[in-house]
Amino acid sequence: MSDNVRVAVLFGFGINCDRETAAVFDMVGGTSERLHVNNLVQGNRSLEEFDILAVPGGFSFGDHLGSGRLLGNRLRFALRDQLQTFVNSGKPIIGICNGFQALVKTGLLPGPESASLEPDLIQRASLTLNNTGRYEDRWVTLEFDSESPCIWTKGIQRIECPVRHGEGRFVMPTDADLDRLSTNHQLTVRYVDPSTESGSGLSDDLLPFPLSPNGSMRNIAGICDPTGLVFGLMPHPEAFYTMWLHPEHTSMNLEDDQWEGSGLQIFRNAVEYVRSQR
């Protein structure tokens, strides 16, 4: 088997972060391909050809009827078997922003109650309009649950990156639902106050706007499924692949070897995970 880690980066129907998402996988040693959703739906291509699936950000179907919903439906109804097989065979999936919304609405996230159960594609959570009512582009500070099973976030404690969404407020019907995810360490990444010490920023108490840009329950920015293979988040780590994308890089006096952005490690983790499983 070749050493290639093949990454399918979906596009079409208004997905628009496909190019940069493909680029960052290539930067960390993956071999990406931008793949139109219909190539899978029409059967020209199969998810089997790939080791990683990325559902990038964008405005699939214009976010009408709720962000990610119609793309989620296309995946749920047309690709149900392929997706289940993909997850069951231990292959990682990431959904970023609109991709996260789509994975939540397909039911791949947060997924069934335990890692021993097969993905059932039942929707258990949602992402809804920001409390502000506004779409906004702003940088946030994120902190990760170090005990999360998520294979994408190993070794990452705190990063900054931009959010760019109008519907990023993560909600579940009851506290018990959130407690269950919390116990399973599926609340992988949350918005934190940057003035807190790195490693001790996570909090269930709602942060004020704009520290939490959307009013998410428990400041949730992203979650994983019980296996840790499927990961979704509203912020855009791919948009911080290099330091020159940081809003304050002109204040930093960086040396030549200090220009890697801290968003890149997420993608490197997945590519290395795939290699480690061979």
Binding site: F11, G12, F13, G14, I15, N16, C17, R19, A23, M27, H36, N38, Q42, G57, G58, F59, F61, G62, H64, L65, G66, R69, L70, N73, R74, A78, K105, R124, A125, S126, T128, L129, N130, N131, T132, G133, R134, Y135, E136, D137, R138, W139, P162, R164, V171, M172, P173, F209, H236, A239, Y241, W244, L245, P247, E248, H249, T250, S251, L254, W259
Partner: protein, 1007 residues
């Protein structure tokens, strides 16, 4: 198969933690815009589904399509408003807003797409509506007024239901917006052998916007025997045009498409200098010739003026292009739809450049009336705050949903824009220098026999007469059919597909369908091969029954016209199918010399290509410059400059637009290295956009703009010079490669043709002459070629003497190379101890300045006249800019900010805000004029920089003999102190300045 209408309603759940944000936004915006609290507002989204499926079969799947099971409740064929679980008490008022028949309903189209996944029915249609529920409306709020804030009657219907209506069961419900059936009319023959008055009447009644000379030129064409013979051979009326031909000529010859004023012969008189000359085309003389001269000295100007945008070589592998457009008239009628079609329209110009460029950045510049306007407002105009919200939303949705970052822009306010807002939308594009088959991608190369496809959306009755309508002044009778709503997702799909087709080398020629529709797009492309044959019967329609001329000139959105060689048509169509994009062959290129239009077998238009494109007679116009008399601005003698600084920072023209700009995605594509807001709290002003579009490669592209409309109150020439200098200054602030930058001139003028309607036309034309002369002088000196431009020449509202004309306004957009985005600068002060320098000299130039307008509005002074900022030595200025840009590229300077509205005082204050740092400044010796002038004067050519102590000597050396002044030091005191020698002029807390600057235009009504 029976057809059923099924009503589905969805409302947010009211359980713990769930919110009705849509409703709450309505409440907050009414507080922000009108100071009225309407109490709790709830929302219901409605879908009217017309299909072969009955309610019973749809009901079990409602949560799969229409309502989210976690956050929403959905109901079929019942009105949620009567559901006591959600509305235990009958509300005060319900306002239901839906579209009028034929108006683009994007949520409806998306819902239908989702519906088809589970309920296949190719004839299904879905129409959407929103109900706003006011649970406890104060009795002081007028129901009709409230409804008027929630819909635009031009495109939407509103149904009101009061508490009484709801209780008594008499409330009416909204129904499917059925379009009246229309029957196709056969082409009619227009007799032009009539009196001159009748020719004028034909033009006016038909919204053709052609003058008598032009109508006579058309009349003459049909009298010529050789044309009559040719026409006979194809079986079309021999000696008179069809309505199709007349409409086609009107579109092609419109001011919008042909720029007749810029191409006119002008008799210009200057009463100051006694000049009396003839100018044969302002465009050729002052814009095209200078650029062509500059093209002799550089090798990077690839394509200028003739394509949809100007193209420059960026490096060996990639070229970059840019175009800016205005969408003023549509935005006045429907701010949301007008502005959205503006941005998605200019995106298509980029996609239609060469063999197709990929849009990589948007710019948006708006000119509005003051958002706090409390004066008179003609009944047909929207309040400026409504225009601001609508235009902003349209551009936001258009840009964000297309996945194109908005990296630069501006918002300018002046009372005169109440009559006509200006909405400038620009786009930068990127394309490979060569395609895989070796063709250079900036050149089109169609051959006769190529198939011409219409790709993307369908043709409807929307958008008929946009080009001719924008060539007329706005009146109460302006047609609603000229208004459209864009569909960014249909366009995004088309864009994805076309870029793949380009890279697969399937395209020989491409252009967008904008003004003039197929008539313009295919007509222009047919010039390459000298002919084409179109079959209008093949064009897919939104509704049946459109007449031939309507199909030909409709400006329905989201369409490109693409030519494909016969051998590639199969691959092209397969790609379209994959992307779910409609691509229909509608024409073929020929070399017949004719624009030949058929509808089925019948020839409905047969026009020589040459006559179509070059037949329009040149206008002859009169221009006379008499300098306007403006009472001189004399600053009051006693004034607290600290208070004045806080007031100036809150002026809408200066205040932070962060609330608005943050709603644009400025970072999609992961390339934006200088963002619109910068600094410690990411809320200081960015001077120019800087992007590095090739992932991993630090070579950048700078995008900036300049605009200074009020200087036209003294001299439109000064206005243009200031706009160009501002664009360059902004670009220099981020370290642009000064030897590779190009510009775009976008003129928006009031009607400059003297007539009964416009008795001051000669003066307005003289303003245009002076503007163009300054454009040439500054651009030549700056070695800054204009590569594309546009003009909009009828920006007036109403009828003389109650006419509101905009101030003559030129937006100058700039795009340029950047060597390495890692070495750039931002406006925020970085740290205590940085030394602050002013680059450039201050002069006593307070004429038409922001401070002059401010003190006038406060009735503290009379008049804004005096010295308007000028640029007497642009060559010397360029040298200063070159040196400063180099120091930024060398990494010596990382802090630079442009001095513009509000002068030095405002510039330094903004740098303190961005860094959350103080500064101590001394303005003694920085130039001429008293201390008031040195604080507030808007002299051009000035940039404030801060340099770290260890780089100071290198900085001074590299600036050489350029005019630099050490003016102070950055401090960690959080206080800005400005002195003039021993006199303290300003002492202000940075937190107070920040508050003034950020709150004025917040307009969120809370969070």
């Amino acid at each position: 198969m029976a057809v059923h209408d099924v009503r589905i309603e969805v409302t947010p759940l009211q359980t713990e933690g769930m919110r009705d944000v849509r409703g709450d936004v309505v409440r907050r915006q009414l507080i922000a815009d009108h100071g009225i609290d309407v109490g709790i507002v709830r929302s219901i989204c409605g879908y009217l589904v017309r299909s072969e499926y009955e309610a019973g079969s749809i009901t079990p799947r409602v949560q799969d399509i229409f309502s989210d099971p976690i956050i929403e409740f959905g109901a079929v064929d019942t009105s949620i408003i009567h559901n006591t679980e959600f509305f235990p008490e009958t509300p005060s008022l319900c306002v239901t807003v839906g579209f009028k028949p034929g108006v683009t309903d994007n949520p409806g189209a998306a819902a239908n797409d989702g519906f088809q996944v589970l309920f296949p029915d190719e004839n299904a249609a879905i129409s959407t509506y929103t109900t706003y529920v006011f649970t406890n409306l104060p009795t002081t709020v007028d129901n009709t007024w409230l409804a008027s804030t929630l819909h635009n009657p031009l495109i939407e219907r509103a149904i009101l239901a009061t508490r009484e209506d709801l209780s008594s069961g008499t409330a009416s419900t909204i129904t499917f917006p059925d379009r009246p059936t229309i029957v196709r009319q056969s082409p009619s023959i227009i007799d032009l052998e009539v009196a001159n008055e009748e020719l004028i009447r034909l033009s006016n009644d038909g919204l053709l916007a052609l003058n008598l000379t032009e109508m006579q030129a058309i009349q003459a064409h049909y009298r010529m025997p050789e044309h009559q013979a040719a026409r006979q051979s194809v079986g079309i009326s021999t000696n008179a045009p069809t309505d199709v031909e007349l409409e086609c000529l009107a579109q092609t010859w419109s001011e919008h498409c042909k720029h007749k004023i810029f191409a006119s012969k002008i008799h210009h008189i200057d009463t100051e200098t006694n000049e009396d000359t003839i100018i044969d085309s302002l465009f050729k003389t002052h814009i095209m010739n200078p650029t062509h001269d500059m093209a002799k000295d550089v090798d990077w100007l690839l394509s200028v003026f003739h394509d949809n945008s100007g193209v420059i070589a960026w490096n060996d592998d990639w070229s970059v292009c840019m175009k800016a457009e205005t969408h003023n008239s549509p935005s006045a009628l429907d701010p949301y739809g007008g502005a959205m079609t503006g941005i998605v329209g200019v995106n298509r110009d980029i996609l239609g450049t060469g063999l197709g460029a990929r849009p990589i950045a948007n710019t948006d510049v708006f000119c509005f009336g003051p958002p706090t306007w409390t004066g008179e407002l003609p009944s047909t105009l929207f309040h400026p705050s409504r225009v601001l919200r609508g235009v902003h939303a349209g551009v936001r949705v258009g840009g964000n949903e297309s996945g194109i970052p908005t990296v630069n822009g501006a918002i300018v306010f002046d009372e005169r824009y109440i009559g006509k807002p200006l909405v400038y939308c620009g786009t930068v594009g990127l394309m490979p220098r060569r395609l895989a088959d070796g063709r250079e991608s900036h050149e089109k190369n169609p051959t006769p026999g190529d198939t011409v496809y219409m790709v993307g959306g369908r043709v409807g009755s929307d958008g008929i007469h946009g080009a001719t309508f924008s060539s007329l002044e706005l009146t109460d009778e302006s047609p609603s059919s000229a208004v459209q709503i864009g569909d960014p997702i249909t366009q995004k799909k088309m864009m994805d597909m076309i870029l793949e087709a380009r890279d697969a080398c399937l395209i020989t020629c491409i252009t967008d369908n904008g003004a003039g529709g197929l008539s313009s797009s295919i007509g222009e492309m047919a010039e390459y091969t000298n002919g084409c044959e179109i079959d209008l019967g093949k064009v897919p329609l939104k509704q049946e029954g459109l007449s031939s001329w309507e199909i030909l000139v409709s400006e329905s959105q989201e369409r490109m016209t693409v030519a494909v060689a016969p051998k590639d048509t199969e691959a092209f169509e397969a790609l379209a199918t994959l992307h779910e994009v409609e691509a229909t062959p509608v024409a073929e290129f020929t070399n017949s010399g004719y624009f030949h239009v058929k509808h089925g077998e019948e020839t409905v238009a047969y026009l020589p290509i040459e006559f179509l494109h070059d037949g329009v007679p040149q206008l002859e116009l009169e221009s006379e410059w008499i300098p306007p008399v403006q009472p001189e601005f004399k600053p009051p003698t006693s004034l607290d400059n600290t208070t004045l600084l806080e007031e100036m920072l809150a002026r809408p023209n200066i205040a932070s637009k962060e609330t608005w700009v943050r709603q644009y995605d400025h970072e999609v594509m992961a390339q934006t290295a200088v963002k619109p807001f910068v600094g410690k709290e990411r809320d200081g002003p960015g001077d120019a956009g800087l992007i590095a579009p090739i992932h991993g490669d630090p070579q950048g592209i700078v995008v900036s703009c300049g605009i200074a409309p009020r200087y036209s109150d003294i001299d439109a020439g000064a206005m243009v010079a200031a706009a160009i200098d501002e664009a360059v200054r902004n670009a220099v602030c981020v370290g642009v490669d000064i030897d590779k930058m190009a510009g775009l001139d976008n003129f928006c003028w009031p009607d400059p043709i003297e007539s009964e309607k416009t008795p001051d036309g000669k003066f307005k034309l003289a303003q245009l002459v002076r503007a163009n002369r300054e454009l040439e002088r500054i651009c030549r000196a700056y070695r800054l070629p204009c590569v594309s431009g546009k003009d909009s020449m009828k920006n007036d509202y109403g009828v003389w003497p109650n006419k509101i004309s905009i101030p003559p306004t030129m937006l100058f957009s700039l795009f340029g190379n950047h060597v390495d985005v890692r070495n750039t600068a931002t406006s925020n002060f970085k740290k205590h101890g940085q030394r602050i320098y002013l680059v450039g000299n201050s002069k006593n130039e307070l004429g038409a300045s922001e401070v002059a307008y401010h003190l006038n509005e406060k009735n503290l002074v009379e008049g804004i006249g005096g010295n308007v900022p000028r640029l007497p030595e642009p060559e010397r200025q360029l040298d200063i800019y070159r040196r400063l840009s180099k120091t930024i590229q060398n990494g010596l300077i990382r802090t630079a900010h442009d001095c513009s509205e509000g002068g030095l005082a405002v510039a330094v204050a903004e740098m303190c805000i961005g860094g959350r740092l103080g500064a101590i400044i001394d303005i003694d010796g920085i130039g001429e004029g008293d201390s008031f002038s040195r604080l507030w004067s808007e002299s051009l050519g000035r940039i404030v920089v801060a340099v770290d102590a260890e780089h100071e000597i290198q900085f001074i050396e590299s600036m050489s003999d350029a005019d630099i002044h050490l003016i102070g030091m950055v401090t960690d005191t959080q206080i800005l102190i400005i002195e003039d020698g021993y006199d303290e002029l300003i002492q202000a807390n940075v937190s107070d300045l920040t508050k003034s600057w950020k709150e004025a235009l917040d307009m969120t009504g809370g969070v």
